[in-house]
Amino acid sequence: MSYDYRERIARRIAREFQDGQVVNLGIGMPTMAANFIPEGVNIILQSENGFVGMGPSPVPGQEDPDLINAGNQHVTLKPGACFFDSATSFGIIRGGHVDITVLGTLEVDEQGNIANYIVPGKMVAGMGGAMDLCAGARKVILATTHCDKDGNPKIRKKCTLPLTAVGQADLIVTEKAVIECTPEGLVLLEVAADCSIDDVLQATEAELMILDTPGVFA
């Protein structure tokens, strides 16, 4: 998976942001989306460790030891930023005051189930704030490679790993496709310019519905 693919996913996700929205970005590709926000769109970034109004990385040497994002990286503040405690922060999240959360995932399935916090016997990191974000944010966007590093599909008929949330995924953005999660199942909305519909279907275990001719993104 080259850097270009990561950037493609981040760039496409940034097009989902609308002016004035409160957005929480997970670690990695989700955080990269902040670099591609369209001109004229201003969003308010929420960081679950206790503030809104997060800005970009500081100039080296200007880091403040008391100011990190939820991924333990130093950040800056935008004018109008505000701090609060963790109970208020998750009140904001569960209370539906975060318009969009963007998260990575290990698996997602036809019912919109998300599995992204534990691989039994291998990776036990803990859910952190992911379960609250999935349960509470108005829109959950998953930023993920289409397949895992062994080439296995991550978009499954049914998740095999322990779930982070039941039926909470709204949109899946990969390097190959943009897929909407609906009560009726997964709908293929867009296909990457260097992919065919067949490429996407072959790399996807879940059934994908094609209602209109999919759009193209690059």
Binding site: I27, G28, T31, S47, E48, N49, G50, F51, E63, D64, P65, D66, L67, I68, N69, A70, G71, N72, Q73, H74, F83, F84, D85, S86, A87, S89, F90, I93, R94, I118, V124, A125, G126, M127, G128, G129, A130, M131, D132, A135, G136, P162, L163, T164, A165, V166
Partner: protein, 231 residues
Amino acid sequence: MNKERDLVQAIADIASGSTIMVGGFMTVGTPEILVDELVRQGQENLTIVCNDAGVPGGGVGKLVRSKQLSILITSHIGLNPEMGKAMNSGEAQVQLVPQGTLAERIRCGGTGLGGFLTPTGVGTLVEEGKERKTLDGKDYLLELSLKGDVALIKAHRADRAGNLIFRMSARNFNPLMAPACQYVVAQVSEIVEIGELDPDEIMLPGIFVDALVLAPADDQTRTNETEGGAP
């Protein structure tokens, strides 16, 4: 009134077997001086409540390394592989709690509430052993409050009455933990006389704080940033 206390004395009042809440998020806002003294004094068989397991040798990670920690109630251990090893070898137990649920359980513990209903964790491993309630067609889990014997917290400024002002993202769990615990020690960078803090700017009332420990400014630095962000 003067709640400033000697570091050694303030920590000596903590007994082995205590449940201790420790503030901080990935060690930002963790009172490292207080944790260092707890390691030096060596109280054992501790149940620690903290957002995460810190980092190897940093934050509550120091209590993992010293084997004083028996049980960790937390949302995330991914930045401290030593915690994962201790868990896998059976030396210590980990109870994983979603971060928002952990914060709210602590808040309830300090505010007279027995618990709350949250949509977080419905249909996941978190639901095991819990009651599910359906209200207006939406499912919730009944989560119970959490209390501790001791809170070790960090603030920026204090007055001698224990009124506290936190700084930036170092606030996190700190103000929630103080009301939920019997004995509260706050590590602070500055202590001023009573009346010098603007009452409108105080973030935690001093009635929740038992002891203030003044930490030298050069101990406020922190070098635990994760390269490339947390995994």
